[in-house]
Assembly symmetry: C2
Homo-oligomer: 312 residues x 2
C-alpha cells in the first residue's frame, strides 16, 4: 500500500478539518498557539484525524500562521494525526519540506484571473511549482496534494467549464500528485455540478483520491457534500463552526460546517469515528479566541440525534 493509500484509504470516508488554515485566512483575531493546539488535540480526541494546520506564507502579511512550525511539531506528536500545510510559492514549499507535516497542499486556480490574484502567478507557473514540489520531495517525505481553486465557478471570471478543470486534473496527475482537490472556493456549485465533476475527475484519477472542498456561501454546502458522497468522493473538507474564506476571492465566505458535515455522513451510513457531542464542544475554543467571528452550524444549535434504529 502506498503512503497516500494508507492516509486516504479508498474504502473509508475522510473528513479533513481545514479551519486552522482556510478558517483563519480572513479573521481579524485568531487563536494563539496554545489555543490552536488545544483545538487540534480536542478535535483529534473527538475522532478527526486529518488537519490542515496552516499556510507557509510571509508572517508579515499573515501573522496568524507565524507559529505554523511549532503547531506542526506538536501535531506530529499525536499518533495517527495527519497534518497538512498549504504552500503557495517556492519559499513556502521549501519551508514545508523542512517542517514535520504529513502533506503539502499546493493550489492551482481554474481561472487565470484568480490564479494571478491568489498566487501572483498564472496557471502554468502554478503547475510548474507543483511539479517542482513533487520532484523535491524525498522518498520518505510528505504527500504532495494539489487543489483546484474556483473549480465550480469564479467570482472574478464567472463560469468555469468542466473541461478546463479536467485539463488541470490531467496535468496534476501527470505531475504525480497524491491527491487532487476540487474546490468550490466561492460557493458557486450546485449538486449537479458537484456530482458531474466528481464523477469525471474520479474516472480520470483512478487510485488518486479526489477531495471535494466546499464553501457554504449560498447554503448549498451540505447538499453539495451529499452529492459528492453520492458520486463516490471519500475525502471532504470542512471547518469547525463554518469558519473560512479566501482573501483573494471576492465574496468568499465560510467553509462547509465540519460538525454538520459529520452528521450528514452519519445519516448516509458512513462510519466517521467522530463523536459529534465532543466535536461540538470544541467550538468553545473558537468562541473564546475569536469573539468577533460568527460561528455557523445547525448541529451545534439543535444537538445531535441518537443514532436511529431504522435502516438508513
Amino acid at each position: 500500500m502506498t503512503r497516500a493509500a494508507s492516509v486516504y484509504p479508498s474504502d473509508r470516508l475522510v473528513l479533513r478539518e481545514v479551519g486552522l488554515r482556510d478558517g483563519l485566512q480572513m479573521v481579524k483575531t485568531w487563536p494563539d498557539t496554545h489555543a490552536k493546539l488545544d483545538w487540534i488535540q480536542r478535535e483529534f480526541a473527538a475522532g478527526v484525524r486529518h488537519f490542515e494546520i496552516g499556510s507557509f506564507l510571509p508572517s508579515a502579511r499573515f501573522p496568524q500562521f507565524v507559529d505554523l512550525r511549532k503547531v506542526a511539531a506538536k501535531a506530529a506528536e499525536l499518533r495517527g494525526l495527519h497534518s497538512i500545510a498549504l504552500a503557495l510559492n517556492e519559499r513556502g514549499v521549501r519551508d514545508a519540506l523542512a517542517a514535520p507535516v504529513g502533506e503539502i497542499a499546493l493550489v492551482v486556480s481554474a481561472t487565470e484571473a484568480h490564479s494571478l490574484a491568489n498566487q501572483n502567478r498564472g496557471r502554468a507557473e502554478a503547475l510548474e511549482l507543483i511539479r517542482q514540489a513533487v520532484a523535491a520531495r524525498p522518498a520518505d517525505g510528505p504527500l504532495i496534494s494539489a487543489g483546484i481553486a474556483m473549480a465550480f465557478g469564479c467570482s472574478i471570471s464567472g463560469p468555469v467549464p468542466q473541461a478546463e478543470v479536467l485539463k488541470l486534473c490531467a496535468a496534476l496527475l501527470d505531475a504525480g500528485v497524491d491527491l487532487i482537490g476540487l474546490a468550490d472556493t466561492v460557493g458557486h456549485a450546485g449538486t449537479n455540478d458537484v456530482g458531474a465533476l466528481t464523477n469525471a475527475a474520479r474516472a480520470m484519477a483512478g487510485d488518486v483520491p479526489i477531495c471535494v472542498h466546499l464553501h457554504d456561501t449560498r447554503g448549498m454546502g451540505i447538499a453539495n457534500a451529499s452529492a459528492a458522497l453520492d458520486a463516490g468522493c471519500r475525502v471532504l473538507d470542512g471547518a469547525l463552526g463554518g469558519l473560512g474564506g479566501c482573501p483573494f476571492a471576492p465574496g468568499a465566505t465560510g467553509n462547509v460546517v465540519m460538525e454538520d458535515l459529520a452528521f450528514l455522513a452519519e445519516t448516509k451510513g458512513f462510519a466517521t469515528g467522530i463523536d459529534l457531542e465532543a466535536m461540538i464542544l470544541v467550538r468553545e475554543i473558537l468562541a473564546t479566541s475569536m469573539p468577533g467571528e460568527q460561528l455557523h452550524g445547525a448541529l451545534a444549535r439543535a444537538g445531535p440525534l441518537e443514532r436511529k434504529g431504522q435502516p438508513a
Copy 2:
C-alpha cells in the same frame, strides 16, 4: 386533467410557501393582515404560486390566524394563486370548506404520541377526520391533502419505521386525498431516509403527488430537498427566511429556507419561474413585522448567482 393535476402538474416543480402557516405557529409577534397580504402579493409577484396561508384554529389560542378568512379572500383575488389552509379538527374543516381556499391540508402523525400532542386525537381518529373531509368536500370544492407529520422520526417517540409511514400513505390514498405530504417535522431526516421514503411513497401513490416538507433543524434541509428531487419529488415546502416550527413538537425549528430552496432547484436545472432577487427583498416584510425573529438563509446574505453558462 383533474383539478389536482392542474394545480400540481407532474412535469413541473412546485415550491410552496408555508411561512404564513407553519412559519407563524411559534412566533411571538406576527405580521398584521396588511403585512400578510403584502407578503403574499410580493412573493406571488416574484413567481411563487402556492401559499399555505394559515390554520383554522381557535383564535383565542392562535391569534396569529384570526384574520385567515380575510387573507384567503384577498389571496383568491390573485389570479393563478393556489391557497392552502390547515385544519386539525371538525370545526377547522367546516370553516375551511366555507372559506375561499384552494386546498385544505389535514394532518396525521406518524406516531401516536405526537398525534395526541398535536391534535388531541390518535392516528385512527385523525384518519377518520380526513375521510370525513374528503366526503364533505363538494365536487367543485377545494383539494384535500394530508401531511404525515414526524414521517422521518419523532422527538417524542424516536425512530419511525418506514413501514409505519407507508401504512398511513396507503390509508390516505384509500381515503382519496389529492396530495400526500411527508413531513420531517423536527429535522431527523437524512438524505438516505428522504430518498428511500420518497421513492416508496411515489411508487405507491401513482398519480397522487408526494410533497416533501422539511425543517432545517440539523442543517440537512437543503441536502434533503436535493435528495427528494433526485427521487422524483416535484412538490416541496419552504418558508421565507426559514421561519417555522411546530408548537407541539419538542425541538422543532424553522422550515427549510424558501429562497435557498429555489436556488437549489435552479442549480438542479428546474424552471421555478421565481425571481430570486425579488423574493429575497420580500424578507423585509418579515424583518419589519417580526423584529424578534431570526431570519435564516444563505442566499439573502450572499445574493444569487448569475445563471451559469456551463451545463448543470
